[in-house]
């Protein structure tokens, strides 16, 4: 592989990383508060659909349509995830089942809404998504400029900012301490006067916001419209990144970059001499294959929040 090729891969890899990182951070909030959120895939789909739809509808009236799309995706994620919150916190449903139900619902719901709004099973394609840009000055730095600052999507910077913000909130603020306590030992948290139900709502709704944003980012950078297969498992890859990154924001960043690169590799493989002989399909399965391998290697060792997935029962000894 030539160095030039490597540099070319960078902006693409970062583009694919951004939604994975954002969504995995969402999963982090949810699981740290004690609710397993397997619905990330569905939340991304809803966010992507809403983001694409709002962009298409506003395109002719404002140049910032795609940014409104991101915001709309975020809000849609919050609304959609509230279903998961009600089911798993108030109704004490099994969190995996509730999440699975939402994933199935998301596919049907978005396509149904496309049919109503656009009279087809996908959104109309938008002409301008989020635009690439070069950071003035920084992009001129040799090598590093090409890697991180030249012709990149601003969404990657949003993801980085969210990593820092998440780290700050989770590890430095009272809110974060309380949230983590709810994910580790909710009865202990409750005995200290913390409202476990409210804390878990917070975790799930933030995961909806970040997952919805992640979905919108994905469709508005890597696609031209929303279809049923726009997200194609990225929510699950995000979930894997969360495990892979040991429920830590910087770990999630590393894992997100790893999966971003493995996706980018599938586009560049045919240009890399010793990989070119492999069938193209191999590279399309690569991110998923790596997900399984990463989970096999790391899942056993990494320890997540202890009470994640456990229904909160105030009477439990």
């Amino acid at each position: 592989m030539t160095f030039e090729l490597f540099l070319q891969m960078f902006p693409i890899a970062l583009m694919f990383s951004a939604p994975i990182i954002l969504t995995a951070l969402g999963g982090l909030f949810s699981e740290r508060s004690g609710v397993v959120n397997i619905a990330l895939e569905g939340i991304m789909m809803v966010g992507a659909f809403t983001g694409a739809t709002v962009t298409v509808l506003l395109e002719n009236s404002t140049p910032a349509a795609a940014w409104y799309g991101l915001l709309a995706g975020l809000l849609a994620g919050v609304v959609f995830s509230s279903l998961h919150a009600v089911a798993s916190i108030n109704l004490k449903a099994d969190q995996v089942i509730s999440g699975t139900a939402l994933n199935i619902l998301a596919g049907g719901l978005t396509v149904y809404l496309c049919q109503i709004i656009f009279h087809q099973q996908r959104t109309r394609s938008f002409s301008n998504g989020i635009q690439k840009f070069s950071v003035p000055g920084l992009s001129k730095i040799p090598v590093l400029g090409r890697m991180f600052f030249d012709q990149v999507y601003p969404t990657f910077y949003i993801a980085i900012a969210m990593v820092l913000l998440t780290w700050f909130v989770v590890y430095k603020t009272p809110l974060g301490l309380r949230m983590r306590a709810c994910g580790e030992h909710p009865q202990a948290a409750a005995s200290m006067g913390i409202n476990v139900v409210r804390m878990r709502y917070f975790g799930v709704l933030v995961s909806g916001a970040l997952g919805g944003l992640g979905g919108a980012v994905m469709v508005l950078t890597a696609d031209i419209q929303y279809t049923l297969v726009s997200i194609h498992g990225t929510g699950f890859i995000s979930l894997a990144s969360l495990v892979f990154g040991k429920w830590n924001p910087f770990g999630v960043l590393g894992a997100g970059l790893f999966f971003g690169f493995s996706t980018a590799l599938s586009f560049y493989a045919k240009d890399i001499p010793f990989l070119a002989n492999l069938p193209g399909e191999f590279f399309y399965i690569l991110p998923y294959l790596l997900t399984i391998i990463a989970l096999l290697l790391f899942a056993g060792k990494s320890v997540g929040p202890k009470a994640s997935g456990e229904i909160y029962d105030s009477g439990k000894r």
Binding site: K172, P174, G193, G315
Partner: protein
């Protein structure tokens, strides 16, 4: 004389049981007031009402002379009432300080001011002689340190009235002694302590006043100085209690359990049991005593199959069981009352009925052609609950999790004794139990012995070891430092051996040496 807390005519009902029935309790300021009662007498319920975890169905509460309604623990906290729960409520991967400040974190702007918090924790810890490291993680510190963190939590919130729910159940004798000193120190500094317990010795040692409950009802309040252990026991149980186990001399028969040159690694990866040999004969109780952490756990786990061994042999009725599974050992007549009742003794989310048949669920009458027989399971459970006086709200249908620790313990003892195994490994059988229950369980263990079973009793309670055993083996640092006749020893001699100061060569040649060559 001023009362800081008064509870009048408190009544509380739970499904199937009246936990508190017209109980009145008055607590003097700056005193240690003990609340005594059997397992399930309603002590914890009463204190949970005072702490706001439950609402009473009748009665009233006054704190510092003012009538109050304690609707949740936050109200209790604001009234200066704090509680150390029997099962600690600590987040295992948080630091000591993080656990203490949780819920009322000091902060600079949006950031937790951990430095200030650590200093304050350090100060309080020093004032009361708690010696807790504010930066240590909970999972890295001992149980007694964790308990002190619970105490610090209350002190950090300026609690004046401290409720201790059976605080000594999880402690070693040395740690109990330290806790008593801490309690006295707290009273000196102006706190009031409510001590829930069923251990008479502790009350005699530390409390000023004692209120006794029995089956949810108030029995009486007495100044501790004017009473003795026998009288308190009688008030608690409602009949005379014998503190000594009645038994005939043992008639030892064949060797049923033989351990030869056993080596077992502990969790830290070093040898916890070193070259240890022991035998237990039919018709005798061999007691194993030692200070906690000297290899008892590893030895028991090796014998019962819960952990792997490095080398050595274990024989059950002359059959080598060294490499058999737990199930195979059980089927060949090994019984076990485990040390950790919640981890190895019960499935907490199963009902009592299900827990009672956990060994033989597949046998008749509990299963017919692979289908569980609900009726047989129910009847079996009701019989054991009756026989062993296990107190549970919904009988056979009670989930194990919903029962108090003492009753969970009784349930395990009931299940294991009922199987009547040939070789019975009994670890801390009366941990957390009251004198009445202890008396009964000791009697049942001796009955097993008299049926020619081999009993291997492991306990941290020296009294229990001396009362029940026929021979006593002392373990120190993974080795047996002596085996003595229970009738011919005393607390001093055992204490010296337990601390490694004294070794006693065996009076009889050990048969294990011959077996090695055979």
């Amino acid at each position: 004389m001023s009362y800081i807390v008064e509870m009048f005519h408190i009544t509380k009902d739970f499904p199937g049981i009246r936990a508190n029935d017209d109980i009145t309790l008055q607590i003097e300021e700056r005193s240690i007031h003990a609340l005594l009662g059997e397992n399930g007498a309603g002590k914890s319920t009463l204190m949970s009402i005072l702490f706001g975890l439950y609402q009473p169905d009748g009665g009233s509460i006054r704190v510092r002379g003012k009538e109050v309604k304690i609707s949740d623990p936050n109200v209790a906290t604001s009234l200066g009432i704090g509680m150390v729960h029997q099962h600690f409520k600590l987040v295992h991967n948080f630091t000591v300080t993080e656990n203490i400040i949780l819920g009322m974190e000091p902060h600079k702007g949006p950031v937790i001011d951990i430095r200030t918090a650590e200093q304050k924790v350090e100060e309080i810890s020093r004032l009361y002689g708690l010696a807790v490291d504010p930066r240590a993680k909970i999972e890295d510190i001992s149980v007694s340190m964790q308990q002190r963190v619970e105490i610090l939590k209350m002190l950090y919130r300026d609690a004046e009235i401290l409720i201790f729910d059976e605080p000594t159940a999880v402690l070693t004798p040395q740690e109990i002694h330290e806790l008593m000193q801490i309690m006295r120190r707290l009273v000196e500094e102006g706190k009031t302590i409510l001590l829930i317990t069923h251990k008479l010795k502790e009350i005699k040692e530390v409390a000023d006043v004692c209120t006794v409950l029995r089956r949810g009802k108030f029995v009486g309040t007495v100044p501790v100085a004017d009473t003795d252990e026998e009288k308190m026991a009688e008030m608690m149980v409602g009949r005379q209690v014998s503190f000594h186990v009645e038994k005939m001399p043992a008639k030892p028969g064949d060797e049923l359990l033989r351990i030869e040159q056993l080596n077992v690694k502990n969790l830290k990866g070093v040898l916890g049991v070193k070259n240890l040999s022991l035998t237990v004969r039919a018709g005798e109780v061999l007691g194993l005593c030692g200070i906690d952490g000297n290899g008892q756990t590893e030895l028991v786990q090796a014998v019962t199959g819960l952990c792997k061994i490095e080398s050595g042999k274990i024989y059950l009725k002359d059959k080598d069981i060294t490499h058999l599974s737990i199930k195979e050992r059980t089927d060949r007549g090994l019984g076990h009352i485990p040390e950790d009742r919640q981890k190895h003794g019960l499935v907490l989310d199963f009902t009592m009925g299900e827990n009672f048949i956990i060994h033989n669920y597949y046998e008749k009458p509990f299963a017919n052609f692979g289908i569980l027989n609900k009726k047989a399971i129910f009847e079996n459970a009701e019989r054991l609950i009756q026989e062993f006086d296990v107190r549970s709200g919904q009988g056979a249908m009670t989930p194990a999790r919903a029962m108090s620790g003492g009753n969970q313990q009784k349930a395990i003892v009931a299940r294991e004794i009922d199987r009547s195994p040939d070789v019975f490994v009994v670890v801390q059988p009366t941990r957390g139990l009251d004198v009445g229950a202890i008396e009964y369980i000791h009697k049942r263990i001796i009955e097993e012995r008299d049926k020619n079973k081999a009993i291997f009793l492991v306990s941290l309670e020296l009294d229990e070891i001396m009362d029940v055993s026929d021979r006593i083996a002392v373990i120190y640092n993974g080795e047996i430092v002596g085996i003595v006749d229970a009738a011919a020893t005393n607390e001093n001699e055992l204490g010296l051996m337990m601390s490694g100061a004294l070794r006693k060569t065996r009076s009889t040649p050990h048969p294990a040496h011959e077996a090695v060559h055979a």
